[in-house]
């Protein structure tokens, strides 16, 4: 294996990605799944996690493009270059681009996930027989509405299982119409169109209006590839149009795709009855390139791996289709050289999607009486609390404060909360309600805030209570609701929709504050009643929920304090 010059890698483990656009060759949900599986190849062998973002800037921005697609490295039409990606870093770094002049599948011919019908979205089964005839593509046979369909088992006559194939009559991809189907005819620049068109675009993508008049409504979408239906062509100058059989080429008639006229042996066809007259053509679909395999390779680059010279390694530069893929030892050694091995639980087999936050147990279901640690005062079980006065990290452990008590959550992930403990036993000067607290690790001091007063503990000795205006905070503040250590002796103090930056050494608020919380920390509630830092993430709590923000200030999870932090 090779890494990039300087062992470029991400400086965080929670890597984010965003899919900017889709190829029309596959159902969007299939593309989502292929990318998710490609990331799983790497998260299975490292501590890395991959979270999908749906807007804003992610670490790995994934897009499809043709030829010149916005960076200095143009693609080259069908075959040849399939994709490329950049090593980890800001901006273009870390991004992955896929050549959309390729025919993207799962590597073994058309990958068609059906819609509607009675097969619950099952994949087409090719070949399938219908009324005694064998089909290797979708067909409109047997229907009068010209909708392409396929069987999802080998014999429709026996199983009667079917679904509809990608068609612009059913849905569109990307655009601004949320997937609405095409409306034919539609008007564009005063002209009527009865089918998808590439008019008005230079990138060759086929599109349509989703109302009868684009000039008025400006709503549109891209047409799914019908390559599975009537052998729609790829590339050429008629992308997505169906082959026309028979067609005439150099005076000869052809009833199927041919490589005649080409030196590279690729199969092509005319999309009108005469190539000699119209010169409209495209390549015939082949097995296509596995989006999963190519993406797994490109994401290897986006994580910091360069090419390998081991022929069977995923990071080998050349594409070769593998049916049952598994990561080569060379790839594993390479990625673990950069990020180390998997620390968490063994990868679980892909099961039904579990929500990122555990749902409340159904109140009607008998809750299993686990042998919970016997709390000091059983009526004070942390799991019974819906909201805490404050949550903060002290000596590396999460502390949950509520009404004169606190609980501790050990830092190892499978620990259970301990407590309750009495606040006044450990910190006698403090009142029952603590609004926020933070640890000045360097000076080994603990700051506690309650109302408009604060206390500073150094070991057993305490300074306070003193008024928060001593720190330069306005005495209009009712209470300090959160504290975030920002390194270099700075702490952010949150109250209402504002926050201030405290210079701990000078015990003074820095100039230029307050600032609005939601301007700087976009995506979190601006009435959070608690803000704290834990394991490299910032948590904003409101009611029973928390919003988790990563080091690049992106909200990457919303969950339940009770289940995700207290592990109830």
């Amino acid at each position: 294996y090779q890494t990039f010059e300087g062992d470029l890698k991400w400086d965080h483990q929670d890597v984010t990605y965003r899919i900017i656009n889709y190829t029309p060759d596959m159902e969007p949900s299939l593309i989502d799944e292929a990318f998710a599986r490609a990331f799983k190849v790497w998260s299975d062998v490292t501590p890395l996690t991959f979270t999908r973002l749906f807007d804003g800037t992610a670490d790995i921005m994934i897009s499809f493009g043709k030829q010149n697609h916005g960076d200095p490295y143009p693609f080259d039409g069908k075959d040849g270059l399939l994709a490329h990606a950049y090593p980890p870093g800001e901006g273009l770094q870390g991004d992955a681009h896929f050549d959309d002049d390729e025919y993207w599948t799962l590597g073994a011919g058309p990958a068609i996930k059906t819609r509607y019908g009675n097969a619950e979205g099952a994949m087409c089964h090719f070949p399938f027989t219908f009324e005694g005839k064998s089909y290797t593509t979708c067909t409109t046979d047997g229907r009068s509405d010209n909708l392409p369909w396929c069987a999802t088992t080998a014999d429709f006559s026996i199983d009667k299982k079917y679904g509809f194939c990608p068609s612009e009559l059913l849905y569109t991809v990307d655009g601004n119409a949320n997937g609405a189907e095409c409306v034919f005819p539609f008007v564009f620049l005063g002209e009527k169109y009865d089918s998808c068109t590439t008019e008005g675009r230079t990138d060759g993508y086929r599109w349509c209006a989703t109302t009868s008049n684009f000039d008025n409504d400006k709503t549109y979408g891209f047409c799914p590839s019908r390559v599975c239906t009537e052998t729609a062509v790829i590339g050429g100058n008629s992308e997505g149009e169906p082959c026309h059989f028979p067609f005439v080429f150099l005076g000869k008639q052809y009833d199927s795709c041919t490589s005649e006229g080409r030196g590279d042996g690729k199969l092509w066809c005319s999309t009108t009855d005469s190539y000699d007259d119209d010169a409209k053509w495209g390549f015939c679909p082949d097995q296509g390139y596995s989006l999963f395999l190519v993406a797994a390779h490109e994401f290897g680059h986006a994580l910091g791996l360069d090419h390998s010279n081991i022929r069977d390694a995923l990071m080998y530069p050349m594409y070769s289709y593998v049916k049952d893929f598994s990561l080569h030892k060379d790839d594993i050694e390479g990625i673990q050289y950069l990020y180390g091995g998997k620390t968490g639980p063994d990868p679980t087999p892909p099961g039904p999607k579990t929500p990122t936050t555990t749902p409340y147990p159904d109140p009607d279901e008998p809750t299993t009486t686990t042998t919970a640690p016997t709390p000091v005062d059983p009526t004070k079980d942390a799991c019974e609390m819906t909201k805490f006065d404050t949550i903060t990290v002290i000596e590396g452990e999460l502390h949950f404060f509520k009404d004169g008590h606190y609980w501790k959550m050990p830092s190892e992930s499978n620990g259970e909360s301990k407590g309750p403990f009495s606040i006044s036993e450990r910190w006698p000067a403090l009142p029952a309600v603590v609004d926020s607290a933070f640890e000045d690790i360097l000076a080994r001091k603990l700051y506690f805030f309650s109302g408009n007063r604060f206390w500073v503990y150094t070991g057993k000795s305490v300074l306070g209570p003193r008024g928060i205006e001593k720190l330069g905070l306005p005495n209009s503040i009712q209470k300090v609701e959160g504290a975030l250590q920002r390194g270099k002796g700075k702490v952010l103090l949150f109250s209402g929709e504002n926050y201030w930056r405290l210079d701990v050494k000078d015990q003074k608020i820095d100039k230029g504050y307050p600032r609005y919380t939601d301007v700087v920390f976009g995506g979190v509630p601006n009435d959070a009643h608690d803000v704290f830092q834990y394991k490299g993430h910032i948590y904003f709590c409101r009611d029973r929920f928390y919003w988790r923000m990563n080091s690049r200030r992106q909200v990457d999870r919303v969950g339940y304090v009770k289940y995700d932090l207290l592990k109830c």
């Binding site: 693609f75 039409g77 994709a83 390729e102 006229g261 022929r311």
Partner: protein, 89 residues
Amino acid sequence: WSLPLKSVFVTFPGDIIKNMTDTELAEGYLNKFGYMNTVQRSGFQSVVSTSKALKRMQRQMGLKETGELDKSTLEAMKRPRCGVPDVAN
């Protein structure tokens, strides 16, 4: 048996003209994937000879290191691949 049809090569409109000679294809490939120009760690840019560049490519691809543009090397250059260079520059 009819005489083999004299293959006529047609330039297809919109096709990415790839009808280039093998030598042109090879030079383009060696340049594009970083085999020709190597930037030494010292930053010194050196242009290696085609033969040396071919040997480096043949080693990377696990081919016989002949330094010649032989059939297997040419075939490897025509195979679909990732666009990221092989020689990290």
